[in-house]
Symmetry: C2
Subunit: 389 residues, 2 copies
């Protein structure tokens, strides 16, 4: 169906000129997923968040972009100042943000950037009881897709290890899970308890609540962070129980170092702002945790290792003539699903190589995709070849 631009402008409460201009600058792009055509906001346009999707269907369904969660660099006094009274502390999972919606009776998985990802969409159907979206078609389930076997943020979580096939001789496991952390309707979030009640009703997995604290109980919140750090987990998101203020986040030393390691493995591809911000977080954390000489030295060593080891590893790989790739091991149900996903990667301009591809028993397709980081390889190669800085 063809929808005039004036209708779209009206639906989003944007002026037609602003909309047209954004389309011309390719800030808004037209995408397609099977028979669905939709507009994606690649950047914020006026009040419309980055990642917002508008479906070109009869109702012109809009899925709002998921708002950025801001960060406390120190828990004290930030938490005391920011919250009203109580603070719900939930675990922040290290995966990728997914919005699950029901559009014209079809369940779709939308990435942070606003694309309907075929991999995600298919996995959602297996990981969630989607009846919740049939009964409540207007809500958006916002969650984190985690585990080793996803194509964006591969990070092992023991709790999402699932057997997807077994016979006498083989067990195939997929490490993948989806935990809902927010239910939104328009730009409003359900209060935490209401959210939990609804999700429990449908037996939908949601993020681990770590406790509800009075906003003055900073030491208790700090303890949960220390515990998560020891367990190699990412951090916390703190919420007002009624969701009257936006959530804020705080992350662990472990995750800062993990991020640094990724940043320095792909030295010239990941932005330097990415690494700078992690180092700043470490500085404030070391200060707030009131570290002595020994603890600081331990922190310094792990920061230094996270920087130098992966960088030297990448230089060595390039010196050996290898590609610099980040590898993702993925499981698909059919050859067509594999192909559809590879087409999708091209569409979103991710360069990749297929490193392994095999059909397992029970017609499960196992693929290892290597995401290529071209600048890192080219620059390292050039410097190793004698180029001057």
């Amino acid at each position: 169906m063809d929808i005039p631009i004036s209708k779209v402008a009206e639906r989003l409460n944007l002026e037609e000129d602003v909309l047209k201009n954004a389309i011309e600058r390719r800030v808004i792009t037209l995408c397609k997923y099977r028979d669905k055509r939709y507009l994606v906001f690649k950047k914020k346009v006026r009040h419309v968040e980055r990642g917002t999707v508008l479906f070109l269907n009869e109702r012109m369904d809009v899925v709002m972009g998921y708002p950025k969660i801001r960060r406390a660099l120190v828990l004290d006094p930030t938490v005391k100042k920011y919250f009203i009274d109580q603070v719900v502390v939930e675990e922040k999972l290290n995966g990728y943000n997914v919005r699950v919606v029901n559009i014209d009776n079809e369940i779709l998985g939308i990435t942070r950037g606003g694309r309907i990802c075929p991999f995600t969409t298919k996995k959602v159907l297996k990981l969630l009881n989607t009846d919740i979206l049939k009964d409540h078609p207007k809500i958006t389930l916002c969650g984190e897709m985690i585990g080793l076997n996803n194509p964006y943020v591969p990070h092992y979580y023991p709790e999402v290890d699932r057997e997807i096939y077994r016979d006498e001789s083989t067990v195939i496991r997929e490490n993948l899970g989806l935990y809902i952390f927010d239910i939104r309707e328009g730009d409003r979030s359900l209060p935490v308890e209401e959210r939990n009640k609804l999700l429990e009703e449908y037996n939908v997995p949601y993020v681990k609540p770590l406790g509800v604290f009075n906003k003055e109980e900073i030491e208790e919140i700090k303890s949960t962070v220390v515990k998560l750090d020891r367990e190699n987990r990412e951090g916390i998101v703190m919420k007002d129980p009624s969701m009257l203020v936006d959530p804020i986040k705080y992350t662990t030393h472990y995750t800062h170092c993990q991020d640094l390691a990724v940043a320095f493995r792909y030295t010239f591809d990941l932005g330097i702002h990415f690494m700078f911000s992690r180092l700043i977080r470490e500085g404030f954390q070391s200060y707030e945790f009131n570290e002595g000489e020994k603890e600081m030295e331990r922190r310094a060593l792990s920061i230094g290792k996270s920087i130098i080891y992966p960088m030297v590893e990448s230089i060595k790989e390039v010196a050996r003539g290898e590609l610099i790739t980040e590898d993702f091991e993925l499981y698909f149900d059919s050859e067509e699903d594999v192909e559809e996903f590879l087409r999708y990667l091209k569409e979103v301009h991710i360069s990749y190589v297929v490193k392994e591809r095999e059909v397992l028993k029970n017609r499960i397709f196992r693929v290892i995709i290597g995401k290529v980081y071209p600048s890192t390889r080219d620059k390292i190669k050039s410097y190793l070849g004698g180029s001057l800085w």
Copy 2:
């Protein structure tokens, strides 16, 4: 005297429009030092380097900007590829770049940025035999001003410790020296031996030559770097003996870590590109020096410490309500000299506080100036106060 813009354009071989435009954009500014008026190029304009100075005197004397020295990230194969045959290795000193010139029979010290610095100018007269510039008024002596007691890059060098006053009860030492590393005439450098001969004739101190190598002798060059690193020194500059190709530089682990420490002490003032580049250098150096587990771990620890210790120190200082300053202890010969220099700092938009000021015996004026880093303090203060990132 008033010089028409067309004359200036002609003198520099620039089109009048280009010159006018650069003046309007304040890329070229008019400055004054006592009775001398001069134009400074704050950025490169066409072929005219940043830091170039044009005096508005009769001859319209031009002092070309000192060109950026490019860097090898690995010595092998860069040195082999870059040089013609022989390589003169000189020590790279960690101070600030000074061009010393004779303009209308006055000796002036010009900074990298192209300003006549009153502190530098006066010290030059004490540290150099300026007869060389009287006999050869067209040359530019390019050197590094080093030592603890300078207002830009305070770094202790034992060899420039000088007694500037002594009586029965007191010894006052100034740690300051100037080493010439290049003699230029227009945009041409004297060949290394000619340079040394001329400087020796006038007994002018010049940078330590560390050896002359065949360009294939990379291991020997590496050894000099290792030795300098152990002595906590900055690095090397490699030159073609005839100066037919531009010099290139290579620096030590020690200096990378020192730089990181400075960058993270003034976290939000020094650019993130500054720190990123130091980390990259460390990666390539660790790779080229073929480090084993132990050496890499040692490197990692010192990198981590250089990042986290000074950052936490700054956070603590801000938490205590202190200013974040970099302190310079300077010696002057008169009250007027102090005042002139403080006026100069204001002119070049350096914010500072005078922390100590005393008249020593023999009318030597000792001043401690604290250069203020405003963003670091403001941002840290704001985050400590609960602002979100």
